[in-house]
Every structure is written in structure tokens, then in C-alpha cells.
């Protein structure tokens, strides 16, 4: 951790208009929960739809995408990253610091609101809400690491990230079994299943597989991002 890098990163993330989109996520989630609570529908079914499909399935990856790319891709894009890189700082330190900021922000903006929304909707029964929250913490961290790496690898990180989240995870993942194994969202769901009472949350990917893949993606993406950042090239072409 480098406190200066963390400070610059956090200010860059929250000091721009992007923060409004980010804040819309928790607000949306809470509004939906309040509305859903008074709808009189089956509570467990509602919890699955709001916490599972909406929060874990859409809001967590979107937040992870905006935050994960936001902590580094913007700086690479506009070239201000040179001020961090032209310093005798180990590159892995820059990457891990930015990752900590990204993970913390993703948690704050999506996992915490998910928990609050869950309490409003369903309460603490059957550890369903706890399960979804832990799932969101785990997948939020993995998305942050993955999208931070994308931000280092490509100038089209947001597009690539959206393609992954929407096309691979949501579209293909909901039909093709194999694709689910390689889906961050499903790993989170697998944790939710393990924590919630038996039979309340169903996940297609086994817990062991999910945990391994979470760790491999988190560590691998961070290590690879560090290597790529050490070889970052300034382009002469605009």
C-alpha cells in the first residue's frame, strides 16, 4: 500500500462525474427493495430476484467495471499515469494499492447496499441475505481485479468488460453450463449457496471450484497487471 497512490486514486474515482453513476446503484437497489416489500409477492422469490438477479447479477459487475477500470484506465488514457510511473515505486505496489481502493469502493457501493436492501426485503432469516452479501463481496473483489487488469491491457476496457459481463455472464452463462463455470457471478452465487440455509439458494458451480477460481483470478489478474504496468509504453501517436 502506498497512501499517496491510494489518495490520488480515491479522489480520481469520486472526484468526477462518474461518482453519480456509481451512487445511482445503491439508490436504485434501495428504492427497488422498498417498492418490492410492499408488493405482497413471495418474499424468498423477491429476494432471489432483487439480490440475485439484479444486485449480484447486474449491479455488482457494473460497479466493479466502472470502479475497476476507473482506478487506472482513466489515468492511462489521458497519460497522467506517467506521474505515478516516473517514480522509484515498485509497480506491484501501485497495482495492489489501486486494487485495494477498487475493492473497497465496490464493496461500499454494491455489497453494503445489497445487505441493507436484503434486510429490508427479507430480514436475516435462513442466512439468505448474508449469503448473497458474502457472494457480492467475493465477486465484487474478483471483478475489481479483473477489470483493473483490463484497464491496463486495453484502451477499450469498458467495452470489453461490458461484453464479458453482459454477453458472457448474462447471456451465454444463463444457457450454457460450461460458461457458468467461468463466470465470476456464479462463483459469488456458489458462496451464497454455501452460507444460506439448505435449499434456499441454488448455484450451479461447486464451492471448491468457485473458491479456487476466485483466488486464481484475483491473484493472477493482479500479478499480470503489475507486469503489464512495468512495461507500459507511452505512445507518440495521438
Amino acid at each position: 500500500m502506498n497512501t499517496t497512490v491510494a489518495r490520488l486514486t480515491a479522489r480520481g474515482l469520486f472526484g468526477r462525474r462518474r461518482v453519480l453513476i456509481l451512487l445511482a446503484v445503491p439508490v436504485l437497489l434501495l428504492v427497488v427493495s422498498v417498492l418490492a416489500r410492499s408488493s405482497g409477492l413471495d418474499e424468498l422469490d423477491l429476494a432471489h430476484r432483487v439480490l440475485g438477479t439484479l444486485a449480484l447479477g447486474t449491479l455488482v459487475p457494473i460497479t466493479g467495471l466502472i470502479v475497476g477500470t476507473g482506478v487506472i484506465a482513466t489515468e492511462i488514457e489521458d497519460g497522467s499515469i506517467v506521474y505515478l510511473l516516473a517514480k522509484p515505486l515498485p509497480r506491484w505496489k501501485i497495482v495492489t494499492t489501486k486494487l485495494v481502493v477498487a475493492v473497497g469502493s465496490t464493496w461500499l457501493l454494491s455489497a453494503v447496499p445489497l445487505y441493507v436492501a436484503g434486510l429490508l426485503l427479507y430480514g436475516t432469516g435462513d442466512r439468505v441475505v448474508l449469503g448473497y452479501t458474502v457472494g457480492a463481496l467475493a465477486s465484487g473483489a474478483a471483478y475489481s481485479a479483473l477489470f483493473l487488469l483490463l484497464g491496463v491491457l486495453t484502451r477499450h476496457a469498458v467495452i470489453a468488460g461490458l461484453a464479458y459481463a453482459l454477453i458472457w455472464e448474462s447471456l451465454i452463462g444463463s444457457y450454457v453450463e460450461g460458461a457458468q463455470t467461468l463466470s465470476v457471478q456464479q462463483w459469488g452465487l456458489s458462496l451464497a449457496e454455501a452460507i444460506a440455509a439448505d435449499g434456499t439458494v441454488i448455484a450451479p458451480v461447486g464451492l471448491g471450484t468457485a473458491l479456487w477460481l476466485l483466488v486464481i483470478v484475483g491473484v493472477g489478474a493482479t500479478a499480470y497487471a503489475s507486469v503489464k504496468l512495468s512495461g507500459l509504453t507511452l505512445s507518440g501517436e495521438e
Binding site: T3, R7, R11, G79, Y83, A86
Partner: protein, 305 residues
């Protein structure tokens, strides 16, 4: 003493050769890197500042490889060409952050010293996003010298500056050079480089075209015969118009090239004379290219700009 050595360095992007087998040494004092647009100046500076790997050859600082070696930044201060610089920070916050990132013992004092050096203390509490080009340039300078580096690299530092800011920056760089630091700046304007640089390196189309102090560069420029290959809508009439004008030393028609070969006397004048004569005679010029090797074309470019 900090010396940057560029040894048989080439850099290509796909099949574009941006820097072609360049060897030069940049030592203490002020060196100007002069060349027209696309000559490879930025590419060279990126390699000297560790932001680009050479495709071939080696770029070193006092013997240490620069690429993928972040320790060199203890010695190097870089003023990049791009303006973007965390515009949500104030000048003070920006320079202070740079001091902290260097791990200096007293970053506050270092930031204050650097801002005073570039005379930006008065605007240090404003957001850098509100600065003029010249002010941005000076704060970038402050961030580059906050750790008291022995090497300062600047890519086109005078771009967009007004004359007063230009003089001030020149003064600052002179002081740096006089301290025995190694200062390298790039420019495509000969006058700018002449005013400031003790030593000039000229690059053209990726090649190291000339090297020396400004007198030597000027001499190279003016003492050479200047030959041009010209094609026009009416070569015969153009030739007689030019002969009548008397500012050419020789004109011949090259049948194989279907073009005129013209030797200019006053080379500076020729670049303005030719279009004028052609226009007066109602002749359209199709090609005007220096017939000598590349050095010629740089100079015509440098002088006419």
C-alpha cells in the same frame, strides 16, 4: 555526472521506423533535440525516460539500462508533452503528491522549494485544471524537479507558451544547466534551440542528421550547395523565369526524371523565391524536393518555419 547513452538504437512501430540506428551521448549542460514533426524526437525521449523499449540497441543512464528500471527515476525528472495532470488537484497537492511518491524525507519542504523555483507559489492553491498552458508547464516542471534530479528531460516544453513564459522557462533551464545537470529538451524550432542549447542534436526522419553547437549547425546549413528537384506544369518556362531572376547558380533539365535540377545560391531566399516566380509566370508546381540527402530537407524545413 549524469550521462545518457543512446547506443545504436532503433525503434519501429509495425513497419514505421521512428528511430533508425541512432547513437548519441547526452551529458551535463543543455542539449537541444531538434527536428521537424515526426522526426522521432518524442520516441527518443520516451526511450530515454523509460516509457518505451528500444527495438534494437541500448539506452542507458550512467551505464544502467533505463527500460523497466524504476530506480533511474531517482536521477531523472521528466516533463511530458501531454498536459493531463490530475486536474482535480491543486498545484500544491499535485507537486506534494509527486514529492511523496519519490519517498522524500520532507515532501512538504521539497514541494514548496520546487514551486518557488518555477514561481508558481502564488497560484498553488488553484486547481491545475484552471491553469493556462504556461502555468501547467511550470507546475509540470516543479513536479519533475521536486526530487532534485540530475537529469531533466522535456518534450516540447515551449509549446503554447507566451514570450514571457518562454523567457522564464529558458532562464530556469539555463540555471539547471549551469548547475552541471543534464538537461535535454526537444523542439522543432531552430531559433528556440539556438537560444538555449549548448549542444544541438538534429534528427530527421528517424536518423541522427547532425550534432554540434549552433554555429556548426548553422554552417552545415548555409555552406552547402542546395539542390532541388522540381516538376511543374511548364518546366521550360519556369527555368527561363528563374534564370532571369538570377538567384540560382545552375539549372538543368533531367530527361530521365522529367524534372528540373536547380542549384540555389541563397538557399533561404530560394524557398520563397520559387513559389513567387512560379505564381508570377502562371506555372503550377507539382514537386519540389531537396535532391541532396535528408539533412537538406530538415534545414529547409527548420529555416522556413
Amino acid at each position: 555526472m549524469a550521462v545518457i547513452t543512446i547506443d545504436k538504437v532503433s525503434r519501429w512501430f509495425g513497419n514505421v521506423v521512428a528511430v533508425n540506428d541512432v547513437t548519441m551521448t547526452i551529458g551535463p549542460g543543455i542539449t537541444g533535440l531538434l527536428g521537424p514533426n515526426g522526426a522521432g524526437k518524442s520516441t527518443l525521449i520516451h526511450m530515454m525516460s523509460g516509457f518505451l523499449a528500444p527495438s534494437a540497441g541500448a539506452v542507458t543512464l550512467d551505464g544502467a539500462r533505463i527500460w523497466r528500471n524504476q530506480e533511474v527515476y531517482r536521477e531523472i525528472g521528466l516533463v511530458p508533452e501531454k498536459e493531463s495532470m490530475y486536474d482535480y488537484l491543486t498545484g500544491w497537492e499535485f507537486v506534494l503528491a509527486n514529492a511523496e511518491l519519490h519517498g522524500l524525507a520532507d515532501p512538504g519542504a521539497a514541494a514548496e522549494r520546487a514551486l518557488a523555483l518555477v514561481e508558481m507559489g502564488y497560484a498553488q492553491d488553484r486547481h491545475t485544471g484552471t491553469y493556462s498552458k504556461g502555468m501547467k508547464q511550470r507546475v509540470k516542471m516543479a513536479s519533475a524537479l521536486v526530487h532534485d534530479p540530475s537529469v531533466l528531460l522535456l518534450d516540447e516544453p515551449f509549446n503554447g507558451m507566451d514570450p514571457r513564459q518562454r523567457l522564464h522557462l529558458m532562464e530556469l533551464l539555463r540555471r539547471f544547466g549551469a548547475d552541471g545537470r543534464t538537461v535535454l529538451f526537444s523542439s522543432h524550432i531552430l531559433e528556440e534551440v539556438e537560444q538555449l542549447a549548448r549542444h544541438i542534436e538534429v534528427v530527421v526522419a528517424g536518423r541522427h542528421a547532425a550534432s554540434g553547437d549552433f554555429r556548426e549547425i548553422r554552417r552545415l546549413m548555409t555552406d552547402r550547395p542546395h539542390r532541388y528537384l522540381v516538376r511543374s506544369s511548364d518546366d521550360r518556362q519556369l527555368a527561363s523565369a528563374l534564370i532571369a531572376d538570377g538567384s540560382t547558380a545552375g539549372i538543368e533539365f533531367d530527361a530521365s526524371e522529367k524534372a528540373l535540377r536547380i542549384q540555389a545560391v541563397d538557399f533561404q531566399g530560394f524557398t520563397t523565391l520559387l513559389p513567387r516566380v512560379a505564381r508570377a509566370a502562371g506555372i503550377r508546381l507539382y514537386t519540389v524536393s531537396p535532391a541532396d540527402e535528408s539533412l537538406e530537407s530538415v534545414f529547409s524545413y527548420l529555416v522556413s518555419s
